[in-house]
Structures are given as C-alpha cells and as structure tokens.
Symmetry: C2
C-alpha cells in the first residue's frame, strides 16, 4: 500500500491574491501585464514539485476596473505559454460551460493537453454574474439550476468528444496509406436539451485521454456536480471543523456515482503570510491589510452580495442580507461571506480586512513550520487531501512557500521530492482515463503510457 | 519613399500541403502529431525572416479520417506554443465567425497578441461545411449570405471590443491605488441582429491594438468583406493573368471603404517543389503525385464539389457540375476546381494530380532561381504583394525555401534581411492601429511604441 501524500496547487492571480498586493513594496504591479511573470510562476511551482498551477477566470471586466489587476490574459493561452517553459507542472484553466460550445472548448483543452504532454486541467464554472451574461446576449444571468443543467449536459458532450479517438486509432502506415483506423474514431451523436453535437473531435486522443476535471462550487448543485465529475475540488473553508464537514460530505457522495474516495482530491484554499517569526508574519499581513482601499473593498463586497453597500458605515455590522435561495449568482461565495460576517459578528471594516486576503479563503500568518503544521493537521484530520496555495503576493509569496514550507513537508514524508509520472493525472495519483470505446487490451496500453 | 518589398507567409499544414506528403520518404508522418514539429517550423520561418506562419482550420473531422494528417491541434493554442520559442514571426490563426462568440474570440486573440508581443493575426472564416454545422446544433450549414452577415456583425463587435482599453488606460499608480483610468476603458454596447455585447473586453489593450485581419474567400461576398476589413488576403490563382485580375479587382474595391491599396497585402499561394535543376524538381513533384491514392483523392474532390464522384471513371472528364449559385459551401474553392477542370479540359485523374499538390493552389517545380523569378514576376507585374508559401512537405520543403530562395530574393533587394519592427503589423508595413476612443496625442504614443 502506498502512503497517502499531499497534493498542492498554486492558485495564481495577477501579482497576488491579497487585493492590495499590487500596492505593496514587495510587488511590481506592472508584472501582472507581462506573460514572463506567469511563466516564471509556473517554473517556481515546478521547482517546488507542486502538482499544478491554476487560473480563475471571468468573462467580463469587474466593477472596479480602476483597481483590477486580475483580468489580463485568457487562461488557456496563458497556460499554453507556461507549458512551453516547463516539463511537469499541471496546467488548470477555468472555462465556462454557459458561454462556450462543447466542441470548441473540448478541442482547446485536448490541444493544450497534447501541447503540454498531458498536463491540462479544466476548472469548470457556470459564470454567475450579470456582467458576464451581458457579454453574451443576455439581460441577466440564467438561473442557477439552469446553468447547472447546461453544465451537466456540456460535460456529457465533452466526455464523449474526448473519447472520439481510441488510443490506438492512429496507424501512420505510410506504405498502405492508412493514417488512422477509421473504425477506432467515433462520433458522439449527442442530441439533448442544450446541444446537438455530431463529433468526432478533430484533435486525436490526448496524452491524458481527457483533461483533469476540477470544480470549485460548494452550493448543493455544485457538490452534486463535483461528486459526479470532479477529480479535484477547490474550496474555501474557514475552520478545521468546517473543512472536515465539507470533506466528509463530498467524499460521502461519491459512491452514488460508482466512485471511490480517492478518485477526488479536496483542496481547501490557504493564503499564507510566511516569515521567520510569527510576529513578523502577522506584521506582514497587517501591512497588506493597511493598503486596502475601503471604497474599493465596499464595491467588491457589494458585488459578492448583490447589494449596494458603498455608502454603508464601515464600523457597523452588515445590514440584513437576503436568504441564499433568493440569489442566482455565485451561491457558495455568497454563503461564505454571510457566514463570516454573522458567525464572527464582524463590522464591515473587519469583514473587508478578512476578505481582502483571499476573498473568503482562509488566511494564515506564521512561520514555515506553523504553515506546514496547519497543512498537516488538515491533511491528517480528514479535512483536506492537500491545499490550494494562494500566495498573497507574487512572485515572492510563492517563492517563500516553495523554498521554506515545501522542504518541511518533504522532510516529514508528506510531499513528493520528484514527480511520480509525466501527466497531471498521474501526479495526482488518479487512475488513467479509460476510453469508453476501448477493449481491455487498449486500456492496458493506455495505462502503460 | 521606401522601396516596395515582398511579404512572405508560411502556410503550415501537418507534414506538408501535398496530400500524399506523409507517405513520402522525406517525411516522418508522426511529426504531424508533435508540437515540437510546429515550433521548429516557426523557427525555420523566422530564420528566413518570413512575415508570418499561418494555420488553416476546420471544426470537424474531414470525411477521410483514415488519411487525414491535418487536424491535430487547435490553431490559437498551437501558435501560442510557437510564440514562446520565437521572437519575430507573425502568428496567424484561422477562426470561425459562425461558431464562436465575439467576446470569447476577441479575447483569445488579444491574449495571443499580448503573449507574443504583438504578433497575432486572425484569418477570418465562416465555416462552409455541413460536417462543421453538425457539431454546433445545426442540420446543415447556414446560407452563404447569412454566414457573411453574421461575420460582418462579428467583426464590428470584435473591433469595438479591441478598442475597449485606450493605450494609456493603465496607470499602475500604487501610491494612489489607481490601476487603470476608468474613463479610458470603454464599453462596446453593441446590440445587433446576431449579437448583444456590453463590453469592455477583459484583456487590456494588446501591443498591436488588435490582431492583423486576414481573409481568404474569393467569392463576391468574400471580396466585399476583404475590401472592408482585411489587411492581408490569401488567394489561390492559377495564372499570372488571373492573379493580375484578382489583384486589380480587390485593390480597386478598397477606396469605397476609405482605404488605400497599400492597406491590404494580396498573397497568392504557391506550392514550390525546389531542386538544384528543373528536371530534378519536376521529378520530385512526380514522386509525390505517384503517391496519391485515387480513392482518397476522389473523396476529397467529392467533398469540394458536393457530388459523389467515388465511382466516377478516372480517365473521363468531370460530369456536369451544378452552377455556383446553387451551393452554400466554400464558393471560391468550388469555382477554382470547376475552372481548372473545364478550362484545361482535364480528366479526373489529371485533376486529382493537380489538386493534390495544394488543393487548387499554384504548384511550381523549379530551381531556387526559377522560383525566385516567378515570385518576382508576380510581384512586379501587379499580381501579388508577396506569397503564401505552401511547402509540399515539411519541414524539408520550408527549409529549402528559406535556405535557397530567400537569399536570392534578399540579394535582389526584394526581401528584408532583418525584421523592420517588433509587431506583425509593422513588418507588413501597415500603419499602427488607431484606437477609436483616443485623441491624436494618444495615437502618436501608440505609433511610437
């Protein structure tokens, strides 16, 4: 039996997850605009033997363009650029099922998977904002349930398309003039409520068979979707107890889909402020907090809750906010903000400071050993299979994690010193993908690759 | 006044444009599947100081999957991979206005333009086959005129989105907490027959302002579209006289859109078989012709004409084929095949051999000097601003062009020895893009960059 080990993803965002990172002296904000910055981040993550890097995404400029350093590149192209400068790191792009066509998106991911030698992952989102809807012909975002209905059908189509080419379909027989065995190239012939797609996909089978499937919604619909499809889940959990509850809930849902607990990795987010002493780490976090602009943060908070809070007094609690059933946007983020504000009885100023670090993800200020301890505790006490590491500032915050926390985790036998395989799926310890059309023999050939 | 010089694009396709290239001993067909092959081709083209490389594209597996080495990668991701391994070469991807959303596609090209430092180009197509339509919910391809109607509106939306961010919109003022000047970030607010798109685009202004716009349809609708939008046109012309007629026709249409002849480069295709003697070059071409599989070629021809010719006798002429007004697919390719067959009174076997080299593009077998002479003649006699070089086999056919023909063109003062600028637009000698929202001062700043 192999020892269970951690999986670590680097969630990359501009020059850092802290909303004021770009104003801090440790950061050069112009790097958010430079592809070389993101390539360097991929290389740092690979140096640290992390499983993957990941970009979130939205399909609109946010309401705070004057302070938004985030939306600069489209994730699939950006990860393709990183692919060429790295060999092992997994490459996870966010893309929407609401505003893409399955044929086009399945093809882009298959192409990235082929270009990267089997390192592509797809963080599946349904795009919950009205601003995004307005870029695709809609007055407002479709209802939450409708978005998940489309997402489910989208996945079924994409999965069929990725299985278009069996692993041994390509013959390359120049003498006989046979490039591919047409009997091993399959149509999808999908006809459903949202899509009609004939197939086959015009990218021959990629190294992983299909990209890693990732999901991050923690609403009820999100958890159902994750239990059915996801192989990794990013989640925001504030406390060990909440993390354990979420972990147990999600793992418990897998059997209903014929899946085992180890078929899905739960990766809570952590925003680590790391320094040689606890006191220095806390002081560093405070420096960032002090750079938050309240007017910007109030607009961000207004966007998360769908309420206009821009004139709300900073030292009062939140006004009463509507029940979650009444909203159609990002339900898990909404619930998280609400729990945070009400559960800890925070003023708006305090809430803004807490959200500023990582938009509701857990922030943690400490020494390398304290960060490693925290990761180990969650990992060993049933709250995590690893972490979604969200450096508050970049590249420095990733450098310090890789150079000081990773070696401790390695020394404790909790984290790899070298990559286990050549694909993202292999490094995550997942079974190779089995093409639905292949015989047992073909499956074995795939596994051997 | 600057001397007018040639522009050369390398049209890359799998292991070569000749349909039997992958069977020839000079070719390793497995390279069609390997991203390193395409990266090497980009580097060879850059070594030869070519303006750009280009990938055609379709959104379906062709009818001859058993002999199809072409559809392996999606072009935007593939060109992003080439971007990271090159510094100067332009990167032109084909993408469809019929099966993409303007917001998504405008963003992908802006991202590629940013990643490549201003080298992106878009070959705009409307996707003329029923097989593609069947991957996007349709029973058959939309009417030719409807596709061009959507394409025109698509371009108007994309152009508005690319102008979302003025060149000086990004402030990066950390002290004041101002990342961007919101008054210089503009919505599109487009509401038309096919699209409603709010904007702004969430990729800040790219180095070229927008990608180079390329077009390749030679139908009447295609020429109208090209005259309005295109900055480079790829075209298949069989003879100097036909090339001159097309060139004069297209250039003559520009004034109606307030454009000058030098605002659009006409680049006919040429498939060069190059060898030290004319006789060896012709023998080389014959070797490729001899590898054509008639049954495969008949299916290709059937697809081009929308007729089932698979049982037609090879040594008879084509049967009567329907008038061009009756078809809704790729009209310019249809017309070209028809003209070739009828104009030269070819049997089906002869037609297949002629089409096998480059699907109707001009093939030319000769010495490096003869190829250079041919290019110079077309360039100086009003038929071309340069050529779309379509090597019959790859990488060897591109290597030999770069190593033997390019130096002759350079020695004659017809072609650059070093790149003129840092962007594709600059190397093509085009004016910098002027953002619609910018003042004269801002435009000057853009030009200086």
């Amino acid at each position: 039996m192999t020892t269970r080990t951690l999986h670590l993803n680097a969630f990359l965002m501009g020059v850092g997850h802290h909303e004021a990172a770009w104003r801090h002296p440790r950061v050069d904000p112009s790097r958010a605009l430079d592809v070389a910055h993101y390539v360097e981040l991929g290389q740092i993550a690979e140096r640290g033997r992390l499983d993957s890097v990941f970009f979130a995404d939205g399909l609109a400029v946010g309401p705070n363009v004057q302070r938004n350093t985030q939306a600069v590149f489209e994730p699939i192209t950006l990860l393709t650029a990183i692919a060429g400068a790295t060999l092992h790191i997994g490459l996870i792009a966010t893309a929407s099922t609401s505003y893409n066509e399955p044929y086009t998106l399945a093809r882009a991911f298959a192409s990235l998977d082929r270009i990267s030698g089997g390192r592509a992952g797809w963080n599946i989102v349904t795009s919950g904002t009205d601003a995004e809807a307005a870029n695709f012909g809609l007055d407002k975002v479709r209802a939450h349930a409708d978005r998940y209905g489309r997402a489910t059908e989208f996945l079924d189509v994409a999965l069929a398309l990725w299985d278009s080419w069996e692993a041994d379909a390509i013959r390359l027989d120049a003498a006989d003039g046979v490039f591919a065995d047409a009997t091993k190239v399959h149509r999808a012939d999908h006809a459903g409520e949202h899509f009609r797609v004939a197939g086959p996909l015009n990218v021959p089978g990629s190294p992983q068979g299909r990209p890693l499937l990732v999901q991050a919604g923690s609403s009820e619909s999100g958890k159902v979707f994750a239990a059915r499809y996801a192989e990794a889940v990013f989640t925001a959990q504030r406390t060990l107890a909440e993390g354990q509850a979420f972990y147990g809930d999600l793992k418990g849902r897998l059997a209903a889909y014929g899946r085992r607990p180890q078929d899905l990795a739960v990766l809570p987010g952590i925003v680590p402020f790391i320094a040689p002493t606890t006191q220095e780490a806390r002081a560093l976090e405070q420096e960032f907090t002090d750079l938050i602009s309240p007017d910007y943060a109030l607009r961000q908070l207004s966007g998360m809750l769908g309420l206009d809070l821009t004139d709300h007094p900073l030292d009062s609690p939140l006004p009463p906010i509507p029940p979650i059933d009444s909203i159609e946007g990002n339900k898990s983020r909404y619930q998280l903000v609400r729990d945070l504000a009400e559960g800890e009885n925070l003023t708006v100023r305090e809430l803004i400071a807490r959200l500023g670090g990582g938009r509701g993800h857990r922030t943690f200020a400490g020494t390398p050993t304290e960060v490693a301890d925290e990761i180990q505790t969650w990992f060993e006490q049933g709250a995590a299979d690893g972490f979604n590491v969200m450096p508050p500032y970049l590249p420095g915050g990733l450098d310090v994690f890789v150079d000081t926390v990773v070696p401790i985790l390695q020394d404790r036998g909790l984290f790899r010193r070298e990559y286990e395989g050549t694909t993202l799926r292999a490094n995550l310890g997942l079974e190779p993908h089995v093409n639905r059309h292949s015989s047992g023999l073909v499956t074995a050939a795939l596994s051997a690759g």
